[in-house]
Amino acid sequence: MIMNKKVEIKIDDTAYLVNEGENILSFCKTVGIDIPALCYNEALKPYGACRLCVVEVKKGGNVRPGITASCTLKASEGLEIITQTEEIHQHRKILFQLYLAQAPDSQVIHKLAEKYGVNETPFPPKRKENDNLGNECVLCGQCVRVCNEIIEKGVIHYIGRGYYVSINTAYNMPSDICMGCKACAEVCPTGAIQFEDIGDTRHGHSWSETKIPLKQCSICGAYYAPQPFDEKILGKMNPEIEKKLTEMCPVCRRKYMSKKQTAIKENRFSILNLK
């Protein structure tokens, strides 16, 4: 935001002074107003897929009064919204019932639904045998967006459309461009994305058993970082960094740096002679 113009908005009959254009869902979270959301991420553009963040617009905001996703609302002078109404509760109830059916094996969803008073669902579960996401995925799209828009690799994407849409690598084949950065797993709200480090390989169980080689520490021999990711980071770093450091795992790096500092303090460079 170039201008820091403040505007007055009302949420649940309480007035707030907010930066013009500020995201309403984001603002609500910062002031502790409870609005559930699964597909919203500060690092990504508002996506509008989960629909849990709906609120009622009473007036203002250049939108029609009525039910709207708060992740798409921006603060403007005179905006008035309500976050808890009978209608919103009813909608959330149905939505959570749909979520329980959609991700029947997700403990995260069960807990979240429970928090909003929904413990069971009249709808049959969507359970796929050998589902690559363990029947815990809510198709919020964060993994796809992170990989394509932020990491800019595009290892995974949606496949198909409608009820049976899924998320995986192309042709459900292991990827040869995945860097193993696990940004997808980081953003996943239900923890459905599984990676496992076994020996010298990071296994992307959710992404068609994509395998990423892990880099080995030159000092202790531990496997500590996915190689392609490591290369990418190194490519962006100051080329004058001491080369030794780039071959060490974080633990050994810390030990080395601390020894180095001691050496500098005490003028004892010989201790830097590391095997």
Binding site: A49, R51, H91, L139, R161, Y163
Partner: protein, 656 residues
């Protein structure tokens, strides 16, 4: 066709010269003109064979110096295709219907005698108002009714379809001969500023013809006021409502009016590039538009420095690939950008940030079609048509269980009754009409007792439906309303992009419930659950597809709840459509033992030999209707919730 040297049109006189050329082919002074209807309907009905027959006859009899044979678009009465219209200089234009190749000779012979082949003459035109021009065809042929004396056309007002079925869609000269592209001179060379043009469109009251009915002038203004070097306009030709094909006809019969409308629009909003997004299932429309664009370019009506002014604009065609959701603005934009058609959050609206984040104005095909006429005849004229806040005409596709099926153009505000009964001549086989479904999968059913409702944006909403893009499907007593709702929901489930939960998950579960109901497995709590789900999906879906998909369910529940209750509690489908609730029986005293039914049964459920009364085994029968459809003696009955006595085993037919 040999490419001719064409001069770019700069002056009005040059336009008139081209018009003159066009008029020579449209109304040849000394030749007979025969035009065969060549839109998709006509072709499917056999126009090719008819055209071939004319060509062969003309060649054989060496009449090429006396007859011009050409093609034209669709006059709207699709059920009666193939159409042929014939002009003898000085005589009225005669429209022949349902023409067979064998009748070609008779038509030509009658025409040479300045007469009419009465048997197949549908109507005549003595004077035609193209709105951008008027043409006289001479008087005569008293035995033939004038076109709008026919009940089918009596309430129709051809504004959008002003040239369809009269001019040759492949000829820009004929389009110009009937006043085409005149509006460009008014707009580009008459000191009309873009804002002036927007004022005219706003004053006219034109509303988006794609279904939402948003005031076009306001939409244009929103794009105009954005400060950007690059702006786009888009023609949404992704006509996806099953049963609606108005846009297809508009593109196939008169492609130039769309182009002319877009040029005016581009000037008004400040765009230099335009796209026409056409669904892949319309190859002929794509072909005609592509040709029309090339012709317009040759005459300098598209491209750099149009009419010698500093306004430049060109159009590209992109095809869809089978996704109904791409009719939604932001999904269409995503598709144009080479992505899957998943709608995007709004705001920002396309007028602010659309195609490649530039201000973009999207309008439906039919909206663009109205623009040249409004510019030419003025906003006040346009407002004389239609009703309050719903100015102008609308093309509807009248299909389903109605007698006269085809495209109908009437003033907005015309009653449903008029369209279905006066124009459409009511139900087929004397069946009682139950309802009409308007607006496709986003619309609702309107029961017969509400047929005095005017058809326009506002009144349709009042009864729970939407006017939509213009599809009107007539349902009679052979239609089951629960099955109809299920059909539309199935469509929406298939076409859902899958991005948001209420639509992706909710519609699917709603469909499952409806499926159970149609199979006799409905539960008493289903109706309430359907109502509650409909409300949530309507209010919380991300885009128009999800927001409107529950409408068929909501309206059928509103007006036909008794059918739902019958299905659930009595396991009866009164219309005898739902297979699991319908049984077939062979009536013993009507059966002649011809064995036809047994031969057609896909599951061998019918036993009996020649001259024996056949019997259907109810356990094996899958209620597919094959036997019912083939029995030549009406000896098979369809029943739901009741049965008749039949012999247990086949017995010999008793001779009467």
């Amino acid at each position: 066709m040999v490419g001719k040297e064409k001069n770019k049109i700069i002056s009005h006189k040059q336009l008139q010269d081209v018009a003159g050329k066009g008029l020579l082919s449209l109304q040849p002074p000394e030749k007979i003109r025969i035009a065969v209807g060549y839109a998709t309907c006509g072709i499917a009905a056999g126009a090719d064979a008819v055209y071939q027959a004319f060509e062969d006859f003309i060649r054989k009899e060496q009449l090429t110096d006396e007859i011009i044979l050409t093609k034209t678009g669709c006059f709207g009465f699709c059920k009666q295709e193939p159409f042929v219209n014939v002009v003898y200089p000085g005589k009225p234009l005669v429209i022949y219907y349902n023409v067979a190749p064998e009748e070609v000779k008779k038509i030509i012979e009658a025409t040479f005698q300045k007469d009419v082949f009465l048997e197949k003459a549908l109507c005549k035109i003595e004077h035609w108002n193209h709105h951008t021009a008027e043409l006289d065809y001479g008087k005569g042929f008293e035995q033939v009714p004038i076109w709008n004396e026919l009940p089918y056309y009596s309430h129709q007002q051809k504004v959008v379809m002003r040239n369809a079925g009269i001019t040759n869609p492949n000829s820009i000269e004929e389009y110009i001969a009937v006043g085409g592209y005149k509006s460009l001179f008014k707009v580009l060379k008459n000191n009309l500023s873009p804002d002036d043009v927007i004022d005219i469109i706003t004053d006219s009251g034109l509303r988006g013809r794609g279904g939402a009915g948003f005031p076009t002038g306001i939409k244009w203004r929103n794009t105009r006021k954005e400060n950007s070097e690059t702006k786009y306009i888009i023609c949404n030709a992704d006509e996806g409502d099953p049963g609606a094909y108005m846009n297809r006809n508009e593109m196939e019969s008169d492609p130039h009016m769309i182009i002319e409308g877009m040029i005016v629009g581009a000037y008004a909003v400040g765009a230099s590039s335009g796209y026409i997004y056409i669904r892949a299932e319309y190859p002929l429309a794509i072909n005609r538009l592509q040709r029309a664009i090339e012709q317009a370019r040759e005459y300098g009506l598209l491209g750099n420095n149009i009419l010698g002014t500093d306004f430049s604009f060109d159009i590209k065609i992109t095809c869809g690939a089978g996704a109904f959701v791409c009719g939604e603005e932001t999904a269409l934009i995503a598709s144009l950008e080479g992505e899957a058609g998943r709608p995007r959050v709004r705001p920002p609206y396309p007028s602010v940030s659309g195609l490649w984040q530039n201000p973009t104005n999207i309008n439906n095909v039919e909206t663009w079609c109205n623009v040249p006429v409004i510019i030419e005849k003025g906003a006040e004229w346009f407002k004389t048509l239609g009703s309050q806040n719903n100015a102008g005409t609308k093309v509807f596709s009248l299909v389903g269980n109605v007698n006269k099926v085809g495209l109908v153009e009437v003033e907005l505000g015309t009653h449903i009754e008029t369209i279905v009964c006066e124009i459409g001549a009511c139900g087929i086989d004397d069946n009682k009409i139950k309802a009409v479904q308007t607006g496709g999968p986003s619309g609702g059913c309107i029961p017969a007792h509400l047929f005095d409702t005017p058809v326009d944006y506002d009144n349709m909403k009042k009864v729970g439906s939407i006017m939509g893009s213009g599809g009107i499907v007539v349902l009679d007593e052979t239609s089951c309303m629960v099955d109809t709702a299920k059909y539309f929901l199935n469509f929406s489930v298939d076409e859902s992009c899958g991005k948001c939960v209420p639509c992706r998950e909710g519609l699917k579960h709603m469909h499952e419930i409806l499926d159970r109901i149609t199979k006799g497995k409905g539960k008493s709590e289903d109706i309430d659950l359907l109502k509650v789900m409909s409300d949530t999906i309507k209010k919380t879906s991300l885009c128009g597809l999800g927001q409107t998909a529950p409408n068929p369910v909501i309206t059928t529940l509103q007006y036909f709840e008794n059918e739902y209750i019958q299905h659930i509690e009595e396991k009866v489908c009164e219309a005898k459509v739902c297979r699991e609730l319908t049984s077939f029986y062979i009536v013993a005293d009507k059966c002649t033992g011809c064995t036809l039914c047994a031969k057609h049964c896909p599951v061998d459920a019918i036993s009996g030999q020649a001259k024996y009364i056949h019997v259907i085994d109810q356990e094996t029968c899958i209620s597919c209707s094959s036997c019912f459809n083939v029995c030549p003696f009406d000896a098979i009955v369809k029943l739901s919730g009741e049965s008749i006595d039949t012999p247990e085993n086949p017995i010999p037919v008793v001779k009467k």
